[in-house]
Symmetry: C2
Subunit: 169 residues, 2 copies
């Protein structure tokens, strides 16, 4: 873990992109980019009295309509109560519908109402707008690399979730 501190790379390959300095740049890039990534939806959410947690819930319910609370928990990586509070306000406000499971009545299947769909779309469009601009500016090859690195950075469990959604399109 401290092998890449000095410059000249071993072997015949160019490993300069693995220096600690390069890695620190990558860390800062992630930090600043994530701020930008969330900035636009945050503004919309604030105006409506919601937070990032609501956005995340809407996103994943939209992504996989009818899914259960437990499944959502696994994707979001938060505790039940954290999600529950957010979910309750969304249900109260008529953005999300929680139907009792048909087979297993312990389960709640989550759906977006038309109003929920509308807000999800608004948030998503704002976020996609920035993403699209970044993608366009960087070009398709850069985008492929971007996706590759992000994927490699995920925890294995999350990577599986991510990849399973990849094809569910």
């Amino acid at each position: 873990m401290a092998r890449t501190t000095v410059a000249p790379p071993p072997g015949g390959e160019n490993l300069l992109f693995l220096t600690d300095e390069q890695l620190r740049k990558g860390i800062e890039a992630m930090f600043f980019a994530y701020r930008g990534f969330t900035a636009d939806p945050d503004r919309i959410l604030e105006a409506k009295g919601y937070g990032r947690a609501h956005h995340r819930a809407l996103h994943f319910i939209h992504r996989d309509q009818g899914q259960t609370v437990t499944n959502l928990l696994a994707m979001l990586g938060v505790t039940k109560q954290s999600l529950n509070r957010v979910l309750r306000t969304l249900v109260e406000d008529g953005l999300v519908e929680a139907r009792v499971g048909r087979r297993d009545k312990r389960e709640r299947n989550l759906y977006l109402t038309p109003e929920g769909e509308a807000l999800e779309r608004e948030l998503s469009e704002a976020q996609r707008g920035r993403m699209r601009a970044a993608y366009r500016a960087a070009g398709p090859a850069a985008v492929a690399g971007f996706r590759q690195v992000l994927e490699a950075m995920m925890d294995p469990d999350l990577r599986r979730y991510y990849q399973s959604m990849k094809d569910a399109g």
Copy 2:
């Protein structure tokens, strides 16, 4: 903003990487990757009773020793009180030293003590470890694309900060 919903791209170029579906994948990739990105430092921090806010402060003080509180505020994008709370505990715990400015005595110049350097290094090494693994798995070309897209995603002000640090290396 709703022009890329349908498949066939205009013009002669392949713009399939700009479909809403691709953009949504990118959004999810950011979300899951950021979780991985913070996971390792978070574990260390929790064991020591600190949070992500402390990590961010340590990182940027290390990055630019002797910088002022105001400068740090601009980088972190939080309010004075938010930062002050964090900074106070770090000073009390002997991780950060706040020296009165030489020229302008209103300013406080922030430095890491040896203990502060040690914790910063521990956190940074954990985070770099994951970053290094991801970089290695994806390869130098992907890393270049990764950095390009992230940079394009930042708010202009933050991008300037980011780029100014690029060379200060």
